[in-house]
């Protein structure tokens, strides 16, 4: 992937190691039928920490973060988000989804609603916020992602990069404590990747807890406190971006890095 953002001037870490962890994954296992897609995945993510998850396709990185807000269910192990353990209890699920925002590879904006309605729907109906307040909040976030002038349009009228920025604003309107990004730039044309990454860097500067599945190594170097490398459903290696990229310890990570670098 292209190193759209220059490495070097990183964003200062906001991770609070003293506070209770934001997310705990403890020996999480998942199968699709007989295929073992997550094998004993254990991760602990501190509040305010920014984690980039990378790995070859099919390595289970998307599945891992989709388990965190239970778009996928795991079969073994324990997932605790913001102090709440994920279970079949619907109330705990609702509580978790309110606190966890998600941005998808394919944006998944609601095409029949305007940009503003996309942003205010959940705050009004899930957070029970008065409409005027929700709209003011939405406009505030749309300004932060630099597209307030598009508020009255429909998603189909926007470019891919703009749509993804709206998707980020929509998730932020729920005032989540944790943000999940599932390959947010993979469906974008190269010239639009930067505008989305800039938005995410801006978000990182606010101290948000972020988990991001991406191949944007420049982004990882700039904002990540930790990079987690996954392969075949396992966490193979993890550490600060610089040491991980410069001194890969495992053969698998070396192969992966050489593959993504060769592409450019």
């Amino acid at each position: 992937m292209s190193d759209t953002i220059e490495a070097g001037h990183g964003v200062a870490s906001a991770a609070r190691k003293d506070a209770p962890p934001a997310i705990i994954l403890d020996k999480v296992n998942k199968w699709y039928g007989t295929m073992h897609v997550l094998r004993d995945v254990s991760l602990e993510i501190a509040q305010g920490e920014r984690v980039v998850v990378c790995g070859p396709s099919g390595s289970g990185k998307s599945t891992t973060i989709r388990c965190i807000n239970r778009l996928e269910t795991h079969q073994e192990g324990r997932i605790v988000v913001d102090g709440i353990e994920l279970s079949d209890d619907l109330r705990s699920l609702d509580a978790i989804r309110r606190e966890v925002g998600m941005v998808f590879q394919s944006f998944n904006l609601f095409p029949h609603l305007t940009i503003l309605e996309n942003c205010t729907l959940a705050p009004i109906w899930v957070r029970k916020m008065p409409k005027a307040e929700a709209e003011a909040l939405a406009m505030d976030y749309l300004r932060r992602v630099k597209i307030p002038e598009q508020a009255g349009k429909y998603p189909g009228q926007l470019s891919g990069g703009q749509q993804q920025r709206v998707a980020i604003a929509r998730a932020l309107c729920m005032k989540p404590k944790i943000m999940l990004f599932d390959e947010p730039t993979s469906a974008l044309d190269p010239e639009m990747i930067k505008e989305v990454l800039d938005t995410m860097v801006g978000l990182a500067e606010t101290g948000m807890t972020m988990i991001c599945v991406t191949h944007e190594m420049g982004f990882a170097r700039q904002v990540a406190d930790r990079v987690v490398f996954m392969d075949r459903g396992e966490v193979v290696e993890q550490g600060p971006p610089d040491s991980l990229f410069e001194n890969p310890r495992t053969e698998r990570l070396k192969t992966f890095l050489s593959q993504i670098l060769r592409g450019h």
């Binding site: 807000n69 778009l71 609702d94 989804r97 309110r98 966890v100 925002g101 998600m102 998808f104 394919s106 998944n108 904006l109 609601f110 095409p111 029949h112 729907l121 959940a122 109906w125 899930v126 429909y154 998603p155 189909g156 009228q157 929509r170 998730a171 729920m174």
Partner: protein
């Protein structure tokens, strides 16, 4: 056809079409207009109707047949038609119509019998009541069709109007004389069956379609069973069951109105068909829409009501209206259990000896009424589709 393609290809080679080569525009050459002979009316005629001697012959032969047919129908329906006949105490004197020998329409049968066709055996001096009901129904359709009236109050308007129609038809209060249901008939029966039928079948269909995709096995099985059972039998057999078998299961003395039984059969039948149409729409939505709604923390009903159904129903407007139109006409099947709808009334109107043999005129009249309602539905759905899918425009 192959002649035509050949012609077009040859035309290009001969330089009849614009010769703007790809890339010409980028180099700044102003786009030229296509030659008149290939785009204008003359060009169209030449390409489509007179492209070869065979096409020319076909065009002329068809034009001749169309003109003959038009002249024939106009002289039958208007020029030679008889619009009224004298009515004496012995009944209608239809000799003038008989003398036409089929060369002209006998619209006198409509002039004489239109009230019977529209209102059936409803007491003659009370005909204003079903007439008012028909107007109320039409008013209800018009109001419901306008998007600016699409709010909660519309449900109330429907409830009030339907109650008013019930009061008008039955009477027995407010100084209106009581008219038993057996005497209702004509267009108003068709509208009652169609309106109540679709008004109840549609919500039922949405619930069944959602149920069929439910993760709860009991609900899913129930919905699948309902759809497959009802869809697997003809409407006629359901109507028979409703009219003949159902009363056998009721205790003595309990009697459910025959019209109501037919109405329930129609609702169940239409519900099963509409459910499959709605399910098609639900399946056309991408999984991402469900996931995005879930990730935002919306509840099942919020997700369904705000995200899934609005998109799914928009997608299926054409097949939905197709089914609506089909059911509007299928209500005429109630004639087999002796309910007096528009078509049955028309059929009965020409049983009288004086009017026998004038079925064509009566069926054209009934057909026209059906057509007006169905065509209005079709036109409206096209507008609605364009309007609701505005967001897909770029």
């Amino acid at each position: 056809m192959s002649d035509m393609t050949e012609r077009v290809v040859l035309g290009t080679a001969a330089g009849h079409s614009p010769e703007a080569v790809p890339g010409g525009v980028e180099q700044g050459a102003p786009p030229r207009r296509a030659p008149v002979t290939s785009t204008g009316l003359i060009g169209w005629l030449r390409a489509n109707l007179f492209s070869s001697w065979l096409n020319t012959a076909l065009t002329l032969a068809l034009a001749y047949l169309i003109v003959r047919g038009l002249i024939g129908s106009v002289s039958w329906a208007f020029v030679n038609a008889v619009w009224s006949v004298p009515v004496t105490e012995a009944g209608a004197q239809t000799q003038a119509c008989r003398a036409l020998n089929g060369t002209g329409a006998c619209w006198a049968v409509i002039t004489e019998k239109h009230r019977f066709i529209l209102f059936g055996t409803y007491p003659y001096e009370e005909h204003w009541r079903p007439a008012l009901c028909i107007l109320l129904f039409i008013g209800l359709y018009v109001v419901s069709a306008m998007r600016r009236f699409w709010r909660k109050e519309l449900v109330l308007v429907w409830a009030v109007t339907l109650v008013a129609i019930g009061v008008l038809m039955w009477g027995g209060i407010l100084g209106l004389s009581y008219v038993p249901q057996e005497r209702w008939g004509g267009l108003v029966i068709t509208l009652i069956l169609a309106t109540f039928g679709l008004a109840f079948a549609f919500p039922l269909a949405v619930l069944v379609a959602l149920g069929r995709r439910s993760e709860l096995p009991a609900i899913k099985v129930l919905c699948v069973l309902y759809v497959e059972l009802i869809r697997g039998v003809p409407l006629i057999s359901l109507l028979f069951m409703a009219s003949v078998m159902f009363p056998l299961f009721l205790p003595d003395g309990v009697n459910v109105d025959k019209l109501l039984r037919a109405q329930v059969a129609i609702i169940l039948f239409a519900g099963a068909y509409l459910a499959e149409v709605v399910r098609g729409g639900l399946q056309a939505l991408s999984k991402g829409q469900y996931e995005a709604a879930d990730a935002l923390g919306l509840s099942y009903w919020q997700k369904t009501g705000f995200i899934i159904l609005p998109q799914a129903l928009r997608l299926v407007i054409p097949p939905l209206v197709n089914t609506f139109i089909g059911f509007f006409k299928d209500t005429s099947l109630v004639l087999i259990i002796g309910i007096f709808d528009l078509l049955t009334a028309g059929k009965t109107a020409i049983v009288e000896p004086a009017w026998q043999g004038f079925g064509i005129e009566v069926y054209i009249f009934c057909g026209l009424i059906y057509f007006l309602f169905c065509f209005a539905m079709s036109k409206y759905s096209q507008n609605l589709e364009a309007e609701l899918n505005r967001h897909r425009r770029r």
